[in-house]
Amino acid sequence: MDSPPPILSITGLTKTYASGQTALAGVDLSIRRGEIFALLGPNGAGKTTLIGAVCGLVRPSAGRIVADGHDVERDFRAARSRIGLVPQELATDMFETVWATVNFSRGLFGRRADSGHVERVLRELSLWEKKDAVISSLSGGMKRRVLIAKALAHEPTILFLDEPTAGVDVELRRDMWAMVRRLRGQGVTIILTTHYIEEAEEMADRIGIINRGRLVLVEEKEALMARFGRTRLSINLKAPLVALPPGWGDVELSADGTTLSVVQAGAGAGEPDIAALFRRVAAAGLEIAGVTTTRSSLEDIFVELVGTPAEDLP
């Protein structure tokens, strides 16, 4: 099958800082045009370094990065004019107005002034009312929106969001998710990093997990959930059970004897163990007080993956 060329292709990317710290140890990654890619990883995993290498903030020690067909070093003008970056740290000018700083960004990235576009961006981010406000007078969440507006001012086709929702309230986070979806609708490829796993679960098409400078796994979110996701069925019994009936080895019995549970791996393939358990419980004449099912979240998967040494991972 012919897959379309990736919009961003990273090969053999390595970065060792002057301090001797190796932040990236040979990363290969292809980002598909138009997708939302979530990069997950614990503190210090190398997420910001990876983004910095693509955007020109970090000098790679080795490796090659091609953005939309342009080598980010040799052909930096073409590559960078297609990339927008919202950094992790809130770094904004203090004394400029929102309007001035967003227009500055557009010019800096080589675009002709276009107040119509800047207005659209500000309106989408609910910043239009604040356009004449001096940035230092804005709240933290508003400042983050300003950074996003700056990154979108030059109409990039690839947008990096480095922890866009860190320290942001629930409402703004929802707004931001909606904005990211709208952008994808407009054909923008989005790469975001986050510590909020529900964010990746909610938004991403694909997920990459990075740990200690290595990409541990890159997979479709659905496939990831199917591969690592587990469903746990727990049945509360009216009367405690002293011991499991013979041949029920796959079932767990809680210490107080009132809860039976089975864990089903993957997402619903084959004869469900869950249905089988119900039949067995009924056949044994046990009375059911209640039933709960829990699906493991990406968070569990994540902990499972980065909790194990990289070499033991699938």
């Binding site: 930096f76 990339i83 970056l85 904004t92 010019g107 800096l108």
Partner: protein
């Protein structure tokens, strides 16, 4: 050439200047006026002419340079140090701009301001002491070259510095003394031979002497030598900056 970027940086920097207008224009104008009141108007008439020029007029070119040099360095260094300090430099580093464009924007804006400052001081000085300018075109040319050179030097300082103190130390502890000792208030000819020779190691002595020549046509050093030294200074700063950007030193991790 990303002209939109040059324009954006240039206007952004000029706007910053506008905001801090008092600090950056008014205060050097006031301090230069004080020198002129004391040395030019009050003491000057009692002093002998230097090279046929009344003392009050004689010190004007040096005083203009004193203000232009220190303001160029401190303004240009601040212009690039501030975004490094606040972190907003990420945007310039990730933008599709070359070193030349960054320099045109930042140094162009700083030099514009220095030039304006020089001209404002020139006009102010005329209120205190009478003088005329023998070679106005050359005067402007020198002023521009010197402004650009010292703005480049300031830019270098702003990249190199890792604290606000360093930004202030260089203009205060290096430039001001060198300008004073570079013949702002006297002619190098008045010095004993040993000190005269020592003074010739001070590049600013050439700038002051050359700049004064454009006013009164008198110089201790051949004006072509002064011009060559000014150009060499410019070239040295440019080279250093290009090397720094090429290697990413101190800007990119």
């Amino acid at each position: 050439m990303n002209l939109h970027a040059v324009r954006a940086i240039y206007l952004f920097e000029l706007h910053r200047t506008w905001r801090t207008l008092f600090q950056s224009i008014a205060s050097p104008v006031i301090s230069t006026s004080l020198y002129l009141v004391v040395f030019g108007a009050a003491i000057g008439p009692r002093l002998a002419e230097v090279g046929g020029v009344p003392y009050g007029a004689y010190i004007v070119p040096g005083l203009i340079l004193l203000a232009v040099l220190t303001e160029s360095v401190s303004n240009a260094s601040f212009g690039i140090y501030l975004p490094r300090f606040t972190g907003t430099i990420y945007e310039v580093l990730s933008a599709p701009v070359s070193v030349a464009e960054v320099l045109l924007g930042y140094v162009g804006a700083a030099a514009t301001k220095s030039l304006m400052l020089g001209l404002v001081i020139l006009a102010t000085a005329r209120l205190f002491v009478p003088f005329s300018i023998a070679h106005p075109v050359e005067m402007l040319g020198f002023l521009m070259l010197i402004s650009v050179s010292f703005c480049l030097l300031g830019f270098l300082l702003g990249i190199w510095a890792d604290g606000f103190e360093r930004l202030q130390v260089v203009p205060m502890l290096v430039l001001t003394p060198l300008t004073f000792l570079g013949g702002t208030f006297y002619s190098l000819d008045m010095l004993p031979p040993v000190w005269r020779t020592v003074s010739l190691f001070n590049p600013i002595a050439y700038l002051v002497d050359g700049f004064r020549w454009t006013f009164y046509g008198v110089a201790v050093i051949d004006v072509r030598v002064s011009l060559a030294i000014t150009l060499a200074l410019l070239a040295a700063c440019l080279t250093a900056i290009v090397v720094i950007f090429r290697t990413g030193h101190r800007l990119r991790a």
